[in-house]
Amino acid sequence: MADLDARARHHIYDITMARGAPPTVAELSTAMGVATDQLRASLGRLAAGRVVVLQPESGEILMASPFSAVPTAFVVETRRYAAFGNCIWDALGIPAMLREPATIRTGCGCCGEKMELVVDRNGLATSTGVVHFAIPAARWWDDVAFT
Protein backbone atom coordinates (compact mmCIF):
# COMPACT_ATOMS: atom_id res chain seq x y z
CA MET A 1 0.00 0.00 0.00
CA ALA A 2 2.83 2.39 0.83
CA ASP A 3 4.31 1.84 -2.64
CA LEU A 4 0.96 2.49 -4.31
CA ASP A 5 0.45 5.62 -2.23
CA ALA A 6 3.91 6.95 -3.12
CA ARG A 7 3.25 6.22 -6.80
CA ALA A 8 -0.11 7.95 -6.60
CA ARG A 9 1.48 10.99 -4.93
CA HIS A 10 4.13 11.09 -7.65
CA HIS A 11 1.55 10.98 -10.44
CA ILE A 12 -0.78 13.46 -8.75
CA TYR A 13 1.97 16.05 -8.50
CA ASP A 14 3.47 15.18 -11.88
CA ILE A 15 0.14 15.87 -13.60
CA THR A 16 -0.77 18.82 -11.39
CA MET A 17 2.55 20.61 -11.86
CA ALA A 18 2.49 19.99 -15.61
CA ARG A 19 -0.96 21.47 -16.22
CA GLY A 20 -1.86 23.47 -13.10
CA ALA A 21 -4.76 21.37 -11.81
CA PRO A 22 -5.01 18.00 -10.03
CA PRO A 23 -6.08 14.93 -12.02
CA THR A 24 -9.45 13.24 -11.70
CA VAL A 25 -9.57 9.71 -10.33
CA ALA A 26 -10.19 8.46 -13.89
CA GLU A 27 -7.18 10.37 -15.26
CA LEU A 28 -5.01 9.06 -12.43
CA SER A 29 -6.23 5.52 -13.07
CA THR A 30 -5.27 5.77 -16.74
CA ALA A 31 -1.89 7.37 -15.99
CA MET A 32 -0.98 4.72 -13.42
CA GLY A 33 -2.70 1.67 -14.90
CA VAL A 34 -4.39 1.05 -11.54
CA ALA A 35 -8.09 0.29 -10.99
CA THR A 36 -10.17 3.18 -9.68
CA ASP A 37 -11.30 1.34 -6.52
CA GLN A 38 -7.68 0.76 -5.54
CA LEU A 39 -6.93 4.40 -6.30
CA ARG A 40 -9.82 5.69 -4.24
CA ALA A 41 -8.54 3.69 -1.28
CA SER A 42 -5.07 5.14 -1.86
CA LEU A 43 -6.47 8.67 -2.09
CA GLY A 44 -8.28 8.08 1.19
CA ARG A 45 -4.98 7.19 2.85
CA LEU A 46 -3.25 10.21 1.28
CA ALA A 47 -6.06 12.41 2.55
CA ALA A 48 -5.75 10.91 6.04
CA GLY A 49 -2.05 11.75 5.85
CA ARG A 50 -2.94 15.31 4.83
CA VAL A 51 -1.20 15.01 1.47
CA VAL A 52 -4.39 15.80 -0.47
CA VAL A 53 -7.89 17.02 0.39
CA LEU A 54 -10.82 15.24 -1.28
CA GLN A 55 -14.16 16.61 -2.38
CA PRO A 56 -16.76 15.43 0.16
CA GLU A 57 -19.31 13.91 -2.25
CA SER A 58 -17.39 12.73 -5.31
CA GLY A 59 -14.14 11.75 -3.60
CA GLU A 60 -12.22 13.55 -6.35
CA ILE A 61 -9.18 15.60 -5.39
CA LEU A 62 -10.11 19.09 -4.18
CA MET A 63 -6.64 20.22 -3.16
CA ALA A 64 -3.21 18.90 -4.04
CA SER A 65 -1.68 21.77 -2.17
CA PRO A 66 -0.77 24.35 -3.17
CA PHE A 67 -3.03 23.71 -6.21
CA SER A 68 -6.83 23.75 -6.16
CA ALA A 69 -9.02 21.64 -8.44
CA VAL A 70 -11.74 24.29 -8.38
CA PRO A 71 -11.66 28.02 -9.15
CA THR A 72 -10.69 30.25 -6.23
CA ALA A 73 -9.98 33.94 -5.68
CA PHE A 74 -6.24 33.27 -6.06
CA VAL A 75 -5.25 33.09 -9.73
CA VAL A 76 -1.63 32.17 -10.38
CA GLU A 77 -0.40 32.89 -13.90
CA THR A 78 2.76 31.09 -14.92
CA ARG A 79 4.36 30.96 -18.36
CA ARG A 80 2.57 27.69 -19.08
CA TYR A 81 -0.86 28.06 -17.54
CA ALA A 82 -3.16 29.79 -15.09
CA ALA A 83 -3.77 27.82 -11.90
CA PHE A 84 -5.76 28.40 -8.71
CA GLY A 85 -4.21 28.48 -5.25
CA ASN A 86 -6.23 27.52 -2.19
CA CYS A 87 -5.23 30.69 -0.31
CA ILE A 88 -2.59 33.40 -0.60
CA TRP A 89 0.05 31.19 1.06
CA ASP A 90 -0.72 28.41 -1.42
CA ALA A 91 -0.77 30.89 -4.30
CA LEU A 92 2.81 31.81 -3.42
CA GLY A 93 3.48 28.10 -2.99
CA ILE A 94 2.83 27.44 -6.68
CA PRO A 95 5.87 29.39 -7.98
CA ALA A 96 7.79 28.09 -4.95
CA MET A 97 6.98 24.50 -5.96
CA LEU A 98 7.48 25.03 -9.69
CA ARG A 99 10.58 27.20 -9.20
CA GLU A 100 9.22 29.44 -11.92
CA PRO A 101 8.15 33.08 -12.12
CA ALA A 102 4.44 33.77 -11.65
CA THR A 103 1.97 36.57 -11.16
CA ILE A 104 -0.64 36.15 -8.45
CA ARG A 105 -3.89 37.99 -8.95
CA THR A 106 -6.41 38.33 -6.17
CA GLY A 107 -8.51 40.96 -4.40
CA CYS A 108 -8.31 42.51 -0.95
CA GLY A 109 -10.05 40.14 1.47
CA CYS A 110 -11.97 43.09 2.86
CA CYS A 111 -12.97 45.35 -0.01
CA GLY A 112 -12.13 43.34 -3.14
CA GLU A 113 -9.73 45.92 -4.58
CA LYS A 114 -7.52 44.21 -7.16
CA MET A 115 -4.12 43.16 -5.82
CA GLU A 116 -1.12 41.52 -7.44
CA LEU A 117 2.07 39.83 -6.27
CA VAL A 118 4.86 39.07 -8.74
CA VAL A 119 7.46 36.34 -8.29
CA ASP A 120 10.46 36.41 -10.62
CA ARG A 121 13.62 34.32 -10.82
CA ASN A 122 15.00 36.03 -7.73
CA GLY A 123 11.93 35.66 -5.53
CA LEU A 124 9.11 37.99 -4.61
CA ALA A 125 9.63 40.97 -6.91
CA THR A 126 6.67 43.18 -6.12
CA SER A 127 4.89 43.13 -2.85
CA THR A 128 1.83 44.90 -1.58
CA GLY A 129 -0.46 44.66 1.41
CA VAL A 130 -0.41 42.24 4.33
CA VAL A 131 -1.26 38.55 4.69
CA HIS A 132 -3.71 37.56 7.42
CA PHE A 133 -3.79 34.07 8.92
CA ALA A 134 -7.21 33.79 10.57
CA ILE A 135 -6.90 30.45 12.36
CA PRO A 136 -4.17 29.53 14.87
CA ALA A 137 -1.71 27.02 13.41
CA ALA A 138 -2.75 24.20 15.75
CA ARG A 139 -6.26 24.29 14.26
CA TRP A 140 -5.45 24.60 10.56
CA TRP A 141 -6.64 21.10 9.82
CA ASP A 142 -9.94 21.36 11.69
CA ASP A 143 -11.43 22.90 8.56
CA VAL A 144 -8.78 23.28 5.90
CA ALA A 145 -11.16 25.10 3.58
CA PHE A 146 -11.33 28.02 6.04
CA THR A 147 -7.95 29.18 7.28
Partner: protein, 76 residues
Amino acid sequence: MLLFRSEEHVERWGRQWSLPRGAVMTPERTWRLALAWFGPNRRLPEWRRPSLEETERLLASLGLTGPFWNLRRPQG
Protein backbone atom coordinates in the same frame (compact mmCIF):
# COMPACT_ATOMS: atom_id res chain seq x y z
CA MET B 1 -5.18 33.01 4.42
CA LEU B 2 -6.12 36.18 2.61
CA LEU B 3 -4.26 39.19 1.24
CA PHE B 4 -5.41 42.61 2.44
CA ARG B 5 -4.50 46.12 1.36
CA SER B 6 -3.48 47.05 4.91
CA GLU B 7 -3.89 46.13 8.57
CA GLU B 8 -6.80 48.58 8.68
CA HIS B 9 -8.57 46.43 6.09
CA VAL B 10 -7.85 43.32 8.19
CA GLU B 11 -9.49 45.01 11.18
CA ARG B 12 -12.48 46.13 9.10
CA TRP B 13 -12.93 42.61 7.70
CA GLY B 14 -12.78 41.14 11.22
CA ARG B 15 -15.46 43.53 12.46
CA GLN B 16 -17.64 42.81 9.42
CA TRP B 17 -17.58 39.05 10.00
CA SER B 18 -17.19 39.11 13.81
CA LEU B 19 -13.90 37.26 13.54
CA PRO B 20 -10.96 37.73 15.88
CA ARG B 21 -7.69 39.05 14.50
CA GLY B 22 -5.29 36.24 13.71
CA ALA B 23 -1.69 36.77 12.63
CA VAL B 24 -0.57 39.38 10.13
CA MET B 25 2.65 39.11 8.19
CA THR B 26 4.29 40.61 5.14
CA PRO B 27 4.05 38.96 1.73
CA GLU B 28 7.86 38.60 1.90
CA ARG B 29 7.68 36.41 4.99
CA THR B 30 4.77 34.45 3.50
CA TRP B 31 6.91 33.86 0.40
CA ARG B 32 9.71 32.48 2.59
CA LEU B 33 7.17 30.25 4.34
CA ALA B 34 5.87 29.07 0.95
CA LEU B 35 9.41 28.28 -0.23
CA ALA B 36 10.14 26.29 2.91
CA TRP B 37 6.84 24.38 2.88
CA PHE B 38 6.28 23.77 -0.82
CA GLY B 39 9.88 23.75 -2.05
CA PRO B 40 10.71 20.08 -1.30
CA ASN B 41 9.84 17.87 -4.29
CA ARG B 42 6.61 16.02 -3.48
CA ARG B 43 7.04 13.74 -6.50
CA LEU B 44 9.97 11.96 -4.89
CA PRO B 45 9.25 8.63 -3.13
CA GLU B 46 11.19 9.75 -0.05
CA TRP B 47 9.15 12.92 0.41
CA ARG B 48 7.06 12.94 3.53
CA ARG B 49 5.05 15.54 5.34
CA PRO B 50 7.24 17.34 7.91
CA SER B 51 6.82 16.08 11.45
CA LEU B 52 5.46 18.27 14.22
CA GLU B 53 8.97 18.96 15.46
CA GLU B 54 10.24 19.77 11.96
CA THR B 55 7.32 22.12 11.37
CA GLU B 56 7.98 23.84 14.70
CA ARG B 57 11.62 24.36 13.71
CA LEU B 58 10.58 25.66 10.29
CA LEU B 59 8.15 28.18 11.79
CA ALA B 60 10.69 29.28 14.39
CA SER B 61 13.35 29.77 11.68
CA LEU B 62 11.02 32.32 10.11
CA GLY B 63 10.37 34.06 13.42
CA LEU B 64 6.86 32.61 13.67
CA THR B 65 6.68 31.95 17.40
CA GLY B 66 4.17 32.60 20.16
CA PRO B 67 0.70 31.22 20.95
CA PHE B 68 -0.72 31.65 17.43
CA TRP B 69 2.01 29.46 15.94
CA ASN B 70 2.01 26.87 18.73
CA LEU B 71 1.17 23.56 17.04
CA ARG B 72 0.67 21.59 20.24
CA ARG B 73 -1.94 23.58 22.12
CA PRO B 74 -5.29 24.39 20.49
CA GLN B 75 -6.18 28.04 20.91
CA GLY B 76 -9.41 29.26 22.55
